[in-house]
């Protein structure tokens, strides 16, 4: 099982850790010298969901090049065991879709056939559509060793169960997608404290670089990027319990306001399951000596003309899905203990007030009334220099910045500007620093 490979990796990294040392290291390998063999690739999932069904045809590309090689001009159709033919047409290069929405039927067997422009014909084996049982998402607080950070990571582990049993289905593939929403602390400007002038070290310059595009909220979206497989074989009940779906680290969850996850369950054939299992094993190799011996993994598609290697699988599956929304306080207490919400640094009491900044330069040329503060709104895209030792370099959010012109009799110059600033880290004010701006997903419900 994949598990055996996994344990090796873990054990090895642990052993390596214990050996103190151990500067095991990874460096890049030149892949240019690898030979290239072109093969046909089929990426097709045919389901019982009422939708436009899609088949992607392509060729393999040389390793290390991010080129695409779609197969265009093919004739593609799916045939069921009653002889019905469902035609696919090329929508964009290499992507073939049904003309209308189409829904696969439970118990029917389907077969993919396609003929290339050159006239070579390929065919999959017949795959029977199995109904997928309903699923229920749950989650628990968990800690996971992270190889990326070389430490344990806290976060939420999402699971699914099949509360009504698995029915006829035994083998499953899962996908998920999630989204989290963040709401920033209001700020008027983003500014850059540029730094000390070497000749006049007491001077600091704030460049009021841009006005905050006052995003009311940001979204971060995520998608499954590995194969998640499950099976009821080897279980004493005909049902999936505690199937691991997604681990969302605190890194990902912190600062969020609301979270949603959708899990999609595909009920697949045993053959498809074995195919994916082998793919997964090779795909997750990490260079340990316990990596499986890799080789060609053949799917269910064959050339009718010769012994050519065809990659990919024509999956026929029943689909069930569930989406759930959460507010942070709906997760358990362990989660609450480590959940930061809005970063503590952004709490109003932590917002720094810097006053009595002496303004030395300003791009402002408008009128001043003595002892009457002028808001920084007037300094749009300008620069001010002030002397202070209380502001650290870097990007800060300027919540507000007021400047006052005072008269000082003792000063030979007579008039001096004094400023008062409210400063907060950008993380508090710009949700883009932790999320993609992300348009609100269509499925979002507040």
């Amino acid at each position: 099982m994949k598990a055996s490979n996994h344990i090796h990796i873990k054990l090895l990294s642990l052993v390596v850790l214990v050996l103190l040392v151990i500067p095991s290291c990874v460096s890049e390998l030149d892949v240019a010298s690898f030979s290239f063999e072109r093969s046909v690739v089929v990426d097709a999932v045919f389901t019982d969901e009422e939708k436009v069904q899609t088949v992607r045809l392509s060729y393999t590309t040389p390793v290390g090049l991010d080129s695409l090689a779609p197969m265009t001009g093919a004739r593609v159709w799916v045939k069921d065991d009653l002889g019905t033919r469902i035609n696919f047409v090329e929508q964009t290069t290499g992507v073939y879709s049904t003309r209308q929405v189409f829904q696969g039927v439970e118990g029917r067997a389907y077969k993919l056939v396609f003929v290339t422009e050159e006239g070579k014909q390929y065919e999959s084996t017949s795959e029977v559509l199995v109904k997928s049982p309903t699923i229920e998402i749950s989650q628990r607080f968990a800690e996971l060793p992270s190889s990326e950070f070389n430490r344990n990571e806290q976060g939420l582990q999402f699971f699914i169960d099949t509360p009504d049993g698995a029915g006829k289905a035994q083998f499953f593939r899962y996908e998920w997608n999630d989204a989290s929403k963040r709401v920033p602390y209001p700020a008027k400007f983003n500014a850059l404290v540029e730094g000390l002038d070497r000749l006049q070290p007491e001077l600091q310059t704030i460049a009021v670089s841009r006005q905050v595009k006052n995003l009311k909220r940001c979204f971060q979206l995520g998608f499954s990027n590995n194969l998640i497989l499950g099976t009821t074989t080897g279980l004493s009940v005909n049902s999936i319990l505690d199937q691991h779906i997604r681990f969302a680290s605190m890194e990902r969850l912190n600062f969020m306001d609301r979270y949603t996850i959708e899990v999609i369950q595909y009920a697949v054939s045993q053959r498809a399951f074995n195919y994916y299992r082998a793919l997964k094993e090779f795909n997750e190799s990490n260079g340990s000596l316990f990596d499986q011996q890799p080789g060609i993994i053949l799917g269910n598609i064959k050339s009718l003309d010769d012994e050519e290697v065809v990659l990919g699988y024509f999956e026929v599956s029943g689909v069930t899905r569930q989406r759930k929304f959460y507010n942070p306080n709906e997760f358990n207490q362990e989660f609450a203990a480590v959940f930061l919400g809005l970063p503590a640094v952004c709490h109003p009491r932590n917002i720094k007030v810097v006053d009595n900044l002496e303004l030395l330069q300003t791009s402002y040329t408008g009128p001043f009334v003595l002892d009457t503060p002028i808001s920084i709104d007037y300094f749009r895209d300008g620069k001010v220099s002030f002397s202070s030792d209380r502001v650290r370099l870097g990007e800060v959010a300027l919540h507000d910045f007021v400047i006052t012109l005072r008269f000082d009799q003792n000063d030979p110059k007579g008039f001096r500007f004094f400023g008062k600033a409210l400063l907060a880290p950008v993380v508090c004010t710009d949700c883009r620093s932790h999320s993609e701006i992300g348009e609100e997903p269509t499925y979002w419900i507040d």
Partner: protein, 935 residues
Amino acid sequence: MKNLLFVLLLCVTLSAYAQEPLKFSGNFSNQPVQEVLQKIESDLSLYFYYSPQWLDSLAFSGVFNEAPVAEVLDKVFEGTDLFYYRAQTKVYLTKGIDIIQTPEIVGDLKIDSVVVSEKQPVEVEEDTGKGLIFTREYREKAVVENDLENYVFEIGDRTAFKPGENSTIAGFIRDNETNEAIKDALIYTSTEGNSTVSTVSSADGFYSLSLPNGQNELQVQFTGKKRAKRKIVLFSDGKLDIGMDVDVIALNEVIVSAAREKSLENPIMGIEKLSIRDAKVVPVVLGERDILKVATTFAGVQTVGEGAAGFNVRGGKSDQNLFLLDGVTVYNAAHFMGFFSVFNSDALEGLEIHKSSIPTKYGGRLSSIFEVTSKKGSKEKLSGEGGISPIAARLTVEVPVVQDKASLLVSGRTTYSDWVLNSVKNVDFRENKVSFSDLILRYDHDLSGKDNLSLSGYASQDDFRLNSDTLFSFSDFAHVNTLASAKWTHVFNGSFDGSISGTYSKYGYEFESTQSPPNAFLQDFDIEEIGAKADFNYGLRDRHEFNFGVETKRYKINPGSKMPLGPESIIAPNILDEEQGRESAFYFSDQFTVSPTFSVSAGIRYSIYSALGPGSSFLYQESLPKNSDSRIGTIDYAKGDVIKTYQGAESRVSASYLLGESSSVKASYSRTRQYIHALSNTASISPTDIWRLSNEHIRPQIADQFSLGYYRDFFDGSLETSIEVYTKKLQDLQDFKTGADFLLNNTIESIALQGPGKSYGVELSIKKSGRLNGWFNYTYARTFIKLSGQTAEETINGGEFFPTNYDKPHTINLVSNYDVTKRFSVSYNLSYSTGRPVTVPVGSYVIQGLELVNYSDRNSFRIPDYVRMDLGFTLKEGHRNTKLSHAFWSFSIYNLLGRDNPFSIFFDLKDGKVKGYKLSVFGSAIPTISYNFKF
């Protein structure tokens, strides 16, 4: 001091031939001898080696006129207790020890009752009287009672003395300290005027020699022991036991000569011997002395990578080596996934690797035998040894249970890696656990002079706990070796001895997953082997040495079971049927000395294996791949039923021909059969590998090896060179389909592939002893396999021969040690090998949004070559015998150059591109310091 001189003597190439007759003139009148020697030194360019205090009170008077130097020296030392020995320009003085003038025979020459000299033994008629005079002469000397070396032993019955005939002298060679038998000690005559007759002691220390009646001088040599000398007058057949003393300081000097006991005359080829002392001079990573790691510096012994478990011997797979600890099979010889071996070097006597002509008494694996022997405890006094390294602490204690009769050896080792983990700054690893420990027990009892009983036990355990890995979590993983053996040895008479032994070995592992209560389970595997063996040695007229016996083994394998853990678990119990098998063999071999220059060792082993019930065997449609679709039936077998039997003869023949005094040629052929296979689809052996037995569908693996070698010694054996060529033909090598799943699989035949293999190679090796000692070898070796089945999934690389993943054509090893002083030595290692073959992608593609790579031909690419240098320093505290304990510090730097040696490669997606990466285990130099002591 005496020891020092002795050492020096061993170091020099002793040559009694062709010394120029140096002449000396001088006139001395009551001058200090030291000054006399200085004059001789300056006039003749001779150099004297001696301890100044010997000469303190000595003065000499005399006149020489062009006198031969020998005469001069005789005169100078006349009337003193000093002796001298001259080797070319060097003259060694000894106090109270005479030096023999016959050519030294290097300690590791293994000569079985062979007359070494080309001359036939001189008839002794005229010596009859002289022998008795000799006795009287010596009796006149003031014999110190415990000076056994000068005492003249009378052997046999004086009245039965028949001049001119031969009588047999026999006895045991023992260690004076432990009273243990010394095996392979060289006993030879050094009687002046006669040619040398020699023999080697057997496992129980027994020796016998046929010598001309009359005066004789016997010498006994053994690595690490002071040479013993006995003067005898042989009247008739009789007995003489000889005890040997430890030569403490000599340890380093003789280290390497013991490593390769490759006598020119011995027909057995391809043996590598390693004493524990050899292991001690080789720098190792993290200070754990490891006999098996040192073994990888020998020609023909390779591993797939840094810290990998398993060995590839002459192109063999890692499951084709039989690891024996005191005759018991060890199924997993690795701790920590291969970073260390399971053998604690302190408790070991040595290691012998047979890689080509495997003795007929061993079988069951194709490639090699790793015969590890534990140390016998001392029967004389309590002693011990221990050490501390960054990884583990170890302690060995030898207890005499019955004085001079019985001893117990207890040796344990344990890691403190848990402590290491806890002290690691990284908080998150604190709850993890990685540790190993092992324990060796050995009890030896001398029941009578002729019977010995030896009991031994061994246990090793590795534990891993991985903290809260919620994905596929194995919270706890442990693997355990348990071994036990009992052996009774009996000596029937001087030329016939035998032993019966019983062995037990069990290896198993289990892992637990408890993170997800509904999916919590316990999964395990174990293999149990119970064996019995009777083995006999019979020597016939000094020309034949017969070895014969029978052995049988019973295997019981639990191929895997998975059980739910906890009340919430929904895991269904899945217990695979137990597998049972019986492997028996009888064997007979004769080591026959045809003539003084030609020896043959020929033997046959006949092995019979049966897979036994209870069990069931599936029937498959012929000409279809074996899987659930082609299954047409099942045959059930009751308990004890024979499911399938395989049998066959394994011939083992080797011969050697001496081409003069210092060179020989040898040739050998051997066949081996293997009925038990480790299921592994990975490059390295792993603790979760499963052993399965041959059955109806899995055929035994068979290997035939031919080898040819030329051996030549230089400088009287202080430099040994050899070149060996071998070729192997293999049948039914075990391999597996791509992506095969071994765990809980009850139809191994559906994932197994079997095909022929071939290996060939050349091994060049040079070994040097002396102050600068060590070995160097270069190996060119290739190994291929062919997997050609009926369908695409059963065919790899188009059904053509392709290199296996341990095919490393060029390998260079250099191990060297230089003794700067008696207490300080420096060692240096160099290791080079061609990168191993790996399978690399031939294209990338996308399915369901996942970037994937496609592989094609296996092993078409090689990872970069491997180069590593190590440096080590050993500092011993004073080695005076009076001191209660001895200690030494060792400091080593592993991978001195800090070279990033790739271990493997893998592929990962980065920025939307599949990229290849190299992984190195030790990417920098690793310094280690360790402390060892002995009391």
